[in-house]
């Protein structure tokens, strides 16, 4: 039989065409023929355990499960014959006898598969007069509520963990009626994808803990949205009641997030109601006063206009495309070339060599077919959970992943080769790989490569890249925040070229690709055009006090590479205008005008994800208080500052204006030059900081999501060190160490973590408690505290 051969089957008298070997239920689903089911899910393996999809197949002695019966030529199926219906109704009765039928107090009520199917296949009155089974609930963490008495044992959650999430956190223990779903060991469910089991659970056994008892499904209005936390841009449904976001669930998009979302995208909305800036405020004589919009806007506009070329503008990488575009347009319109979104980057030596439009380097779905992937400075599983999931699928298809990382992160896929080295040795490791794959390069990295003496780990990494097939070298956020990012990037590109792989970027924020398109860069205007006048990159902007600084969506103590230096510069600046959705004492200390703006779900806008999709969305709830969408605020600021070109009356008009300029700007990762200059971070025998940003510290919204902050992934301000270093320092877990970085000092509790290289301290950036320290990477002094 050839690949494209088809078979014809007959279902309820209707002729259907199918691929040989396809399961019956896939064919009937495609044809819109309803067959009830509970355990079957198109993204999970077939379990055939619920027996709800039993149908009559001609010449089969008994009813067969449609989910596990492959089609055969000429097969005749009846889905609603007396035999099929008797089997389906029989199963329904069995499923209901021990189900508590507590629909009136169950969160799933109204969106419950069991309820829906029972309506069609259940009896009105139960024949079961025995005592029903009761199962003790388990606390599996802050995200998922359990009511295990309601469980119908479909095992979708178990299969999701084993097959998709790659962590066997939930399992079915016990036999027969005593079978229970639970964690194998007494602990929480910690997968970054765990919330998906809520959607998978066909009953109310697993529900959203933060959403619990908040609303009934029929009270909610479902609106479309795009998740704002990472470069995937997962498609979501936002569930709204009376102007309040009560829940976020996935919206199917096979090319982006399939049917899943990360826990960050699911629960980030919980930060929406926390610390909101609801009124325009102006600082007068050191005192914050609530003022009307007119007053605040006039104050802000005059300050910005007065600064003119002295203005510095920093935009968060999760701002919308429209906000980014207008912010740079306003800045440049005022005569200042200084605008940037690269808040955590410290090495800008490669700006001239920047690719035209950095992106993932391939469609997201293509990651699943990657034969070999080299991750450099990436914890993809936590940074971009859905890209991690795609890579996991690649490994299940015999693809291999290798890493050059400063911490031996736990991935949910096997890592075939790893160089886990202090940040100062990442260049060396990558140079070793480059040497073996035969990279031909000159300049600084040429010297690095020719001087490399590759070790076994680097050889193993190079071997991965010698595989046949589609290969990728991906630079993660830790590479981009590295003091020698420009050299790392050039090396990575050289490795990719020499090994036939493609280079890709796993950028921080939801809109890094959009930021480049919008021209939110000191050296590039919209659509990647060279800037008329080169401005200062982000770090240089806040190297000294300025005439005026415009902050768009930034928390200065947590979002900036060298927060203490930046805060000092801001405090000394003449005028700091901040567009912010949230209040924070750090912002209030350094700003002069606070303009309240909309957050996630409150504004229309566009994110451009890492595969280059322009994903626009509408505002689905009103911002709180007097807050307004930031694009409108920027537009009015420009009007008040007499900058031309700000007549747009909708975010769509802003987007279309930019889009018209971007028609000839395809994604392109090719470096446009080379970098000369020595490595900044050189191995010196000292102790180094690894300042990776934890997944629930990436932006202002997620930092305020209480349920996410209660998970184990919300790494606090702890010093994670290898046991060997702890022994040398004479400290044990729970002791404190005094850490000095530059002039700053902090005392942090110690956690022993063998995944951290010996001469390193993993001390997260972006979290409360470490903001007094400097950049994410650098030398530290560490002593028993």
């Amino acid at each position: 039989m050839t690949q494209d051969a088809t078979v014809t089957i007959e279902v309820d008298g209707q002729l259907l065409t199918a691929r040989p070997g396809q399961m019956l239920i896939e064919v009937t689903d495609a044809a819109g023929i309803p067959i009830p089911r509970f355990c079957y899910h198109k993204k999970l393996s077939v379990a055939a355990n619920c027996r709800m999809c039993l149908v009559e197949v001609e010449r089969a002695p008994k009813p067969l499960p449609a989910c596990a019966t492959p089609v055969t030529p000429g097969m005749k199926v009846r889905t609603r014959s007396p035999i099929a219906l008797a089997a389906q109704k029989g199963t329904m009765e069995f499923l209901l006898i021990n189900h508590p039928l507590d629909c009136p107090i169950c969160d799933q009520g109204g969106e419950c598969e069991l309820q829906d199917v029972a309506l069609g296949y259940g009896r009105d009155v139960s024949r079961f007069v025995e005592q029903k089974r009761v199962v003790k609930d388990r606390d599996i963490g802050p995200l998922i509520a359990t009511d295990l008495t309601r469980c119908i044992h479909c095992t979708r959650c178990v299969r999701f963990g084993a097959e998709l999430a790659g962590v066997r956190e939930l399992g079915a223990t016990g036999r027969g009626e005593h079978m229970q779903i639970g964690t194998f060991i007494a602990r929480s469910v910690d997968s970054e994808l765990s919330g998906n089991v809520i959607d998978l659970c066909p009953v109310g056994a697993l529900t959203s803990k933060p959403f619990r008892y908040k609303a009934r499904a029929w009270e909610l209005v479902q609106r479309d949205g795009v998740a704002p936390h990472d470069c995937v841009g997962s498609n979501v449904h936002v569930h709204v009641r009376r102007g309040e976001v009560l829940r976020v669930v996935p919206r199917d998009n096979e090319a982006v997030n399939e049917v899943w979302i990360s826990d960050r995208d699911r629960y980030g909305y919980e930060g929406l109601g926390v610390d909101r800036l609801e009124h325009p405020m102006v600082k007068r004589d050191g005192q914050w006063r609530v003022v009307d919009w007119q007053t605040a806007l006039t104050a802000a506009a005059s300050a910005l206009k007065a600064a003119g070329a002295g203005l510095r503008t920093l935009v968060a990488p999760s701002a919308t495309l429209e906000e980014m575009y207008l912010a740079q347009k306003l800045t440049r319109g005022l005569g200042s070339p200084h605008v940037d979104y690269r808040l955590r980057q410290v090495d800008f030596r490669g700006d001239a060599a920047d690719p035209a439009l950095p992106w993932l380097g391939r469609p997201i779905a293509a990651l699943e077919h990657s034969a070999a992937t080299l991750l450099v400075g990436s914890n993809v599983r936590k940074d971009q959970p859905l890209l991690g999931l795609r890579l996991r699928k690649a490994t299940l298809r015999s693809g291999a992943v290798g890493v050059v990382n400063p911490v031996d992160f736990d991935f949910n896929f096997p890592v075939a080769a790893r160089a886990v080295v202090p940040p100062s040795r990442m260049l060396e490791a990558l140079a070793g790989v480059a040497k073996i794959v035969g990279a031909r390069v000159g300049g600084t990295i040429g010297a690095l490569v020719s001087g490399a003496s590759p070790d076994a780990a680097e050889r193993a990494l190079a071997d991965l890249l010698r595989r046949d097939g589609d290969k990728a070298v991906l630079l993660g956020p830790m590479a981009q925040a590295h003091p020698d990012y420009s050299l790392l990037r050039e090396l990575a590109a050289a490795v990719a070229t020499a090994s036939g792989a493609t280079l890709g970027f796993l950028a921080e924020g939801a809109n890094a690709t959009g930021a480049v398109l919008a021209g939110c860069l000191p050296h590039r205007g919209p659509a990647g055009a060279p800037a008329a006048a080169a401005g200062e990159p982000a770090a240089a902007m806040l190297a000294a006090p300025r005439e005026a600084v415009l902050l768009v969506g930034i928390e200065p103590h947590l979002d900036l590479a060298d927060a203490p230096a930046a805060q000092a510069a801001l405090a000394g600046s003449k005028a700091v205008v901040a567009l912010s959705a949230f209040r924070s004492s750090a912002l209030e200390q350094c700003a002069d005008v606070l303009l309240p703006v909309a957050s996630f779900t409150e504004t229309s806008g566009t994110y451009v994800n890492c595969q280059g999709d322009w994903q626009s969305f509408e505002g689905v709830v009103a911002p709180p208080g007097e807050a307004r969408p930031a694009w409108k605020v920027l537009r009015v600021l420009a009007n008040l500052a007499d900058v031309a070109g700000f007549e747009q009356d909708s975010s769509e008009a802003v987007r279309d204006e930019l889009r018209a300029r971007c028609v000839a700007t395809p994604p392109d990762n090719a470096l446009q030059g080379t970098v000369d200059g020595a490595a900044v971070l050189v191995p010196g025998g000292g102790i180094e900081r690894v300042g990776a940003v934890p997944p629930y510290a990436v932006d202002a919204l997620v930092r305020r999501s209480a349920p996410l902050q209660a998970t184990r992934d919300a790494l606090g301000a702890k010093a994670r060190i290898a046991p060997s270093l702890a022994a040398r320092l004479g400290v044990a877990a729970g002791d404190c160490v005094a850490v000095g970085q530059g002039g700053a000092r902090g005392v942090f509790p110690v956690e022993l973590d063998p995944r951290v290289p010996d001469a390193c301290v993993w001390l997260p950036a972006g979290v409360q408690g470490t903001e007094a320290l400097g950049a994410a990477f650098g030398e530290l002094t560490v002593a028993k505290g």
Binding site: A48, A87, E93, F94, V129, E177
Partner: protein
Amino acid sequence: MANEVCFRLMHLPEPWRLAAYQSEGGYEALRKVLGGGMPQDQVIEEVKKSGLRGRGGAGFPTGVKWGFINRTAPGPRYLVCNSDEGEPGTCKDRDILRFNPHALIEGMVIAGYAIGAVAGYNYIRGEFWEPYERFEAALAEAREAGFLGKDILGSGLDFDIHTHLGAGAYICGEETALLNSIEGRKGQPRYKPPFPAQFGLYGRPTIINNTESLASVPEIIRRGGDWFREIGVANSGGPKLFSVSGNVARPGNYEVPLGTPFATLLEMAGGVRGGRKLKAVIPGGSSAPVIPGDVMMDLTMDYDAIAKAGSMLGSGAVIVMDDTNCMVRVLDRVSYFYYEESCGQCTPCREGTGWMHRVIHRIETGKGRPEDLDLLDDVAAKIQGRTICALGDAAAMPVASFVRHFRDEFAYHIEHRRCLVGG
């Protein structure tokens, strides 16, 4: 004629020893096969000719099953022996392991050769510690003597046997649950197809046979398929071990030719204890439908006769009940077993076994309702044929048959809230 195949060494003082086994023709069959005398297909043909049917309960022709294996496909194949013997009433495989382990080993090597397996696994019921040790000792003897391991008898054949001790779950006697258990997974049956002959242990083609089936193979090879077949009757070749238990004077394992009248078997077991009246017999392990005593006395012990009477020869566990037994109480106990042993994977069995047991237990304890008997019939019918494995059928069939044959007794229990038996 009794004790001709698996029990043929029972007259010897220590029949489990290699020396004892060899003194009566042991490992001659293996020499015959590996000495170049019998190509693989001929071994399979001989077993087909013998009429040997799976002794674990399903009665599928062993030689035909071996023929399902595609020996030309690349990659390893496995042989698995099912010594999980969990069917209530059955204790025959235990005695093969205890008294004739070398017959099983020889049978496994021959079967492994015939299907081209790279290794064999013997999955022994968790409670069988003594048989496990006996079998392990026999494996060591066989290895020492060159009947097992590398280059067996200089033939170039490499084949070894690994023992896997279960952990007490009845469901692991189901062949695909058994495979999962060996692999370290939860012992739950797999949906079939694919069948183990295509996708078995570790996803490789696998043949799974019962202990008694495999232990019969050496005599089939040594004395010929025809010899074996002629011991039995049409469609039921060879002798079979019957574990006779219940209200008999001499309960135990008896190896008799298939087709032996039940009356003869009952007589061998000393007749009904105390000369009481035979009330009912479960002829093939607790999952086989019960047969009233008077019907049973006219039957012969072979696959067709028992099937014609509406039951199954099954594993050969003959549970004899005299007229002191309350059939409600018996079914209460039997249904409790299936309720506890259902693996819980698929809905009808997980939910239905508990439902049936609770209803039967209510009737037994004087809380029955008139509608309960129809309910039991209906629930049993909704389990049967709708589950992943045969445990659902095994749980449903006793219920349906007890209620059918002894409906009056159940009705009396419901109406009078007490037992008919013993007044």
